[in-house]
Structure formats: C-alpha cells, structure tokens
Amino acid sequence: MELEIKDLHVSIEGKKILNGISLKIKEGELHALMGPNGSGKSTLAYVLMGHPKYKIDSGEIIFHGENIINLTPDKRAKLGLFLGFQYPTEVPGVTFKNFLWTAYKTLNNGASYVDFNEILDEKLELLEIDKSFVLRYLNEGFSGGEKKRSEILQLAVLNPKIAVLDETDSGLDVDSLKIVANGIKKLNENGMGILLITHYQRILNYILPDFVHVMTDGKIVKSGGHDLAKEIEEKGYEGIKDG
C-alpha cells in the first residue's frame, strides 16, 4: 500500500499555496518533511486528508491505487489514512474515550468494545498516559503537550496504513518527546507509513527517517537521507537551497 502525490497544485481563496508537489510514501517508510513557516506543510497535510476549504487546481493523490481527491475525509480515513493535527480542535462535552470508540468501530467493522478497551489500555501504557486522560472531554482544556499526546494515542489505537503527523513533536517536553518518538518508531516498525512534518532535528535523533524533504514556497526543493536534517540544522533553509 502506498500513498502517491503527483504534481499537486493547490490554492485557497485564489492564492496558490502548493506549486507542484510530488511524493511517494510506502508502508513502513518514514519521511520527514521540513521547511520554513508558511511554506505549505500543513496545507499539504490538510489536502491529503480532504479539508474542504482548499481547492485542488491540478494533480492527483493516489491511495490504494485510486485517486482520492474527491473523497470526503471519512472515506479517506476508512481507506487507512490518518492526520495528526498541528492544532487539534477542542470538542466540548464529548469524552475522549466515547469519541475514540465511535471512530474505532466505524473503522473496524464488527469491532468489540472489549477488544477496544484492551487496545486502548495497551496504548496508554506504551505512551505512558494516565487512564483518567481518556475520561476528559476531547482536547478541551488540554495543554499543548496533552493535545499532541491525544493525537498520538488516537493514532496508535486507530492504527492507519499511512499517517501524516503535523508537528506532533512541537510543544512536548524532553521526556514526552522521547515517549512519543518511541511510540511512532514502534508503529513505523510495524509497517505504518509516516510523513512526519517537523521543525526540529531532535525528534529525528530518536527515529531515523528514511527520507528528508525540504519544502519552500509550496515546492519540495530538496530531498535526501537523514543527513539532510542535520545539514538544515547547521545551515538553515537558506543555506541548503543552493547547495
């Protein structure tokens, strides 16, 4: 199973944001996507998941051998796509657990609540999250770090084929970062394909990416191995552009 993005051009309110992105992510691969603020990383993430506010001017997103650009987000999720949000929304009055169970049974036909609970407990342990966490309302009043943990916990329980993680490492303290990174690593080793959007080298110290891509002005200007991330850290985006 792979996700293939072909020459994707995207605009919002007449403003071009993505200018021809091509990228292929296979199961079990880890891609890091880096780039300056405003370069279009979150836009790409949203577009992959099917956010209605963006207009796809041209290009294709192939998943499961099918162009998914006309599918609603829920259909994409059912095919095995996941987005970890840079800024997860708060949904008051809906407990995390009820919500996740609803999602779990929607994605897994005939799922049993007993199995779900088992998986949830296992993932809570893996991510060192307290059980009381899941009884809170979804993301409501969560700290920045807690919101990111909420995303990772959902990722681990829903276990998609391909996940786009938009700055899941931002806002995490050192200990949390290590736990989250190890969680991602494990999922990746078990075959999940991951596009990890990040600003920091530090998460890449825990999980070595197979590929690093640099985006500026809605274009991937450079791709390479994990060394590229170090180079960016040293030289900045300006420095690597021409080199």
Binding site: M49, P52, T89, V94, A103, T106, Y137
Partner: protein, 397 residues
C-alpha cells in the same frame, strides 16, 4: 368566555367558597386585561396573534396521572380542594400578585393540577412523577416542601388526546399552566419538567418558586414540542443561603418557536444562582431566551451566573439570547455569557478525519454541546429521556 358561561361553570363545581370568590375577582381582572402586545419587551419576537384567550373553549377536567411514594402527599388538585382547602387558600397565586392576562386566565379557569405536600423532615425516597395531558384547560399546581424536607418532582407535559393533524389552525389549542413552589427552610427540591407537545399547539407555562433560608431549588427543564412554547420560570431567593440552579435544554425543528424567560431575584444576602440554558435549532425554528438576574441592595455576597447558548444547524434557524443583570448591591459576583453559533467546519473536519461521516460528526458535536447541561442532571432517567427526544427531533427534522 362569556360572563354567563363563567358563572355557570363556577356554579357547576363543588368548590370552596373562597375559591369561587377568587375566581370571580380574577375573572373581572382577566376580562379587563388586554392580550399582551409586541411593544412589551417580554412579548417581542413572539407571535401570539393566533392566541385569543377570551375565546378559548374550556370544558371538563385535565387528565393527569400521578405516581409517588407513600411518604409524601400527592393529590389531583380537584380532590385536594376538599382536604387541603386551607393550605391551598393560603398559597394559591400568592406569588402572582402581578398576574398578567395569561396568569389571570389560569387563576380564573383552572380546573385541575397537582397538589404536592412534603411534610417537615421527610426526605422523600421516590420521585413524584406527574404526566399532564394538555388541552385548552388551564392547569394549576402547587408544590410545598415543609422545613428540612427533600423531593424529586418530575413533570411531563404531553397532549396524547390531541390529533395534531385535525387540530384547528384558526383556533389552535392553547395550553396554559401555573405552578407555584414553596421550598421552606433547609429543604431541597429537584424539579424536572419537560414539554413534549405535538406541533400546532401553543403552550404558556408560568412557574414561580419561593426559596427560604438554607433551602435549594434545582430546575431541570426540557422544551421540545409545540408550535410556540413559552416558559417563564422565576425564582425568589428569600432567605440567606438559599440556592437556585436552572439547567435547561431545548430542541426546535420546522417552524417552531421556543421562548424562554428565566428570572432570579436575590432578595437577601448570601444567596447563589447558577443558570445554563442550551438549545439546538434546525429547519426554520427560532428561539429567544431572556434571562434576568436581579440583586437587591441589601443582597450582598451574592453569587450569580447565567449562561445561554444556541447551536444552529441550518441557515434558516434563528436565535436571540438576551441576558440582563440588575444589580443594586456592591459586594456581589454576577456574570453572564451567551452565544449563538453554527457547527464549526474545523470541528467537523477533525471528527471526519477519524472516519466519522458528516452526519455522525454533526450528531456528536450536538450531543457534546448539550452534554454540558445534561451532565448536571441528577436523574439518569430524565437525562436519557431528554437525549433521546433531542436526537429524534433533530434527526427526523
């Protein structure tokens, strides 16, 4: 109703003489009062042009079923008049000295209702549940909790006998009721009330409670049915450390109008009040919520909050939340918050990205929106019932 018909009605009933005299007095007042008009603040945004109280046909007794434990006294009003004439005489309409057209209509013509008396020191185990079959006949109920007592009261308003399809458009059914509640020192009343009338009916419910020292009233209200539904729920905190909480939800569809007024009067120091009213509207439904918190000059150390929020599921639905504070005292905390909003695309996208289809995502947001009111309910049964009714009304809209 003509004077002659009215006199005949009084004559035909075997009621205490004080009541006959009262009916005569209020009938005079009722006949002189005009129907409210939209220039009066409380009657703005509400269309009662189809309602003519002078012409409403009244006959027979309202059908009411009651269910209760044996530690409290519960009777149909028409029967209570024999046994508890004095107590009823003492309390009836004593909180409504400022009766408007609707209240004086009820006080002239009421025929049945529920009488509840919880004796001193009785902490009622079982709830009193009341099912009122609404018609044109006005209903009057009286609930008295004597000192240091406790009660859960559940009132459900239906209109089983009315076929909404044949209901008259020119002379619609107008259901009216007045409930008076006295919560005496150190007592506690949980008052649950739902309105699940068929469409085409007009309902006007007036409820007032007097709460004495150390006593507490908790209102749990659900407004669901009728073409036009007006509630006026008022609480008078009369003794120190008296408490009031009002939690209400409404769900409107089609052309319904939900119109809710709550007023809380802080009359003495050290009282508290907490209000949260939330509604969801779809179709062309509309709503108005007016909330007043009034704090008298000597009512220092008052704590009072009022929140009113509406979620609109369609572009044609409309809502207006109008909270107001009248504060004469200077050492109090009184705040309010209100909002009218639509489903947020970002929330929907978030939920849909987890596999929920749009409809399910919408439902989850609506349920969550109301949950923060429903989770305050002290009865699981009522909460579940309100949830189910809301879902049905919004889904089958």
């Amino acid at each position: 109703m003509l004077v002659t018909d009215f006199l005949q009605m009084i004559k035909n009933r075997s009621e205490p003489s004080w009541l006959k005299q009262r009916r005569l007095d209020t009938f005079t007042k009722f006949s002189q009062l005009k129907m409210p008009d939209s220039k009066e603040e409380e009657w703005r945004y509400i269309d009662i042009s189809q309602v003519n109280l002078d012409n409403v046909k009244i006959d027979g007794y309202t059908d009411i079923s009651i269910d209760f434990g044996n530690d409290v006294i519960v009777l149909l009003m028409k029967e209570a008049l024999n046994k508890f004439s004095d107590m009823i005489n003492e309390h009836a309409f004593s909180l409504f000295t400022d009766a408007d057209k609707f209240v004086s209509f009820v006080s002239s013509f009421w025929n049945n209702g529920v009488f509840v008396y919880v004796p001193k020191n009785v902490q009622a185990e079982l709830p009193v549940t009341v099912k009122i079959n609404n018609t044109n006949n006005p209903v009057y109920s009286l609930v008295v909790l004597d000192e240091n007592s406790k009660l859960n009261f559940v009132e459900e308003n239906v209109a089983d006998k009315i076929n909404p399809i044949v209901s008259d458009k020119i002379n619609p059914i107008v259901s009216t009721s007045v409930t008076e509640i006295f919560v005496k020192e150190n007592s506690k009343l949980n008052f649950f009330c739902s309105q699940i009338l068929p469409e085409n009916l007009y309902s006007f419910y007036y409820k007032r409670a007097s709460v004495e020292r150390g006593a507490e009233i908790n209102w749990f209200l659900g407004s669901f049915g009728a073409k036009l539904s007006r509630w006026k729920v008022e609480t008078f905190l009369k003794g120190e450390n008296a408490k009031c909480q009002k939690y209400g939800i409404y769900a409107g569809n089609k052309n319904q109008h939900h119109d809710i007024i709550t007023k809380t009067f802080h009359l003495v120091p050290h009282t508290s009040n907490n209000i949260l009213v939330k509604g969801v509207l779809t179709g062309r439904a509309s709503s108005v919520y007016r909330g007043l918190i009034r704090i008298e000059k000597n009512a220092q150390q008052t704590l009072s909050y009022m929140g009113a929020h509406t979620l609109l599921l369609s572009n044609k639905a409309k809502s207006n939340n109008i909270p107001s504070l009248e504060i004469e005292a200077n050492d109090v905390r009184a705040t309010h918050g209100s909002s009218v909003g639509q489903l947020e695309e970002e929330k929907l996208f978030y939920l849909m990205s987890r596999g929920l289809d749009r409809k399910l995502a919408e439902n989850i947001i609506v349920e969550g929106f109301l949950e923060t009111v429903l989770n305050k309910f002290t009865s699981d049964e009522v909460r579940e019932k309100f949830r189910a009714i809301t879902n049905e009304r919004l889904l089958n809209a």
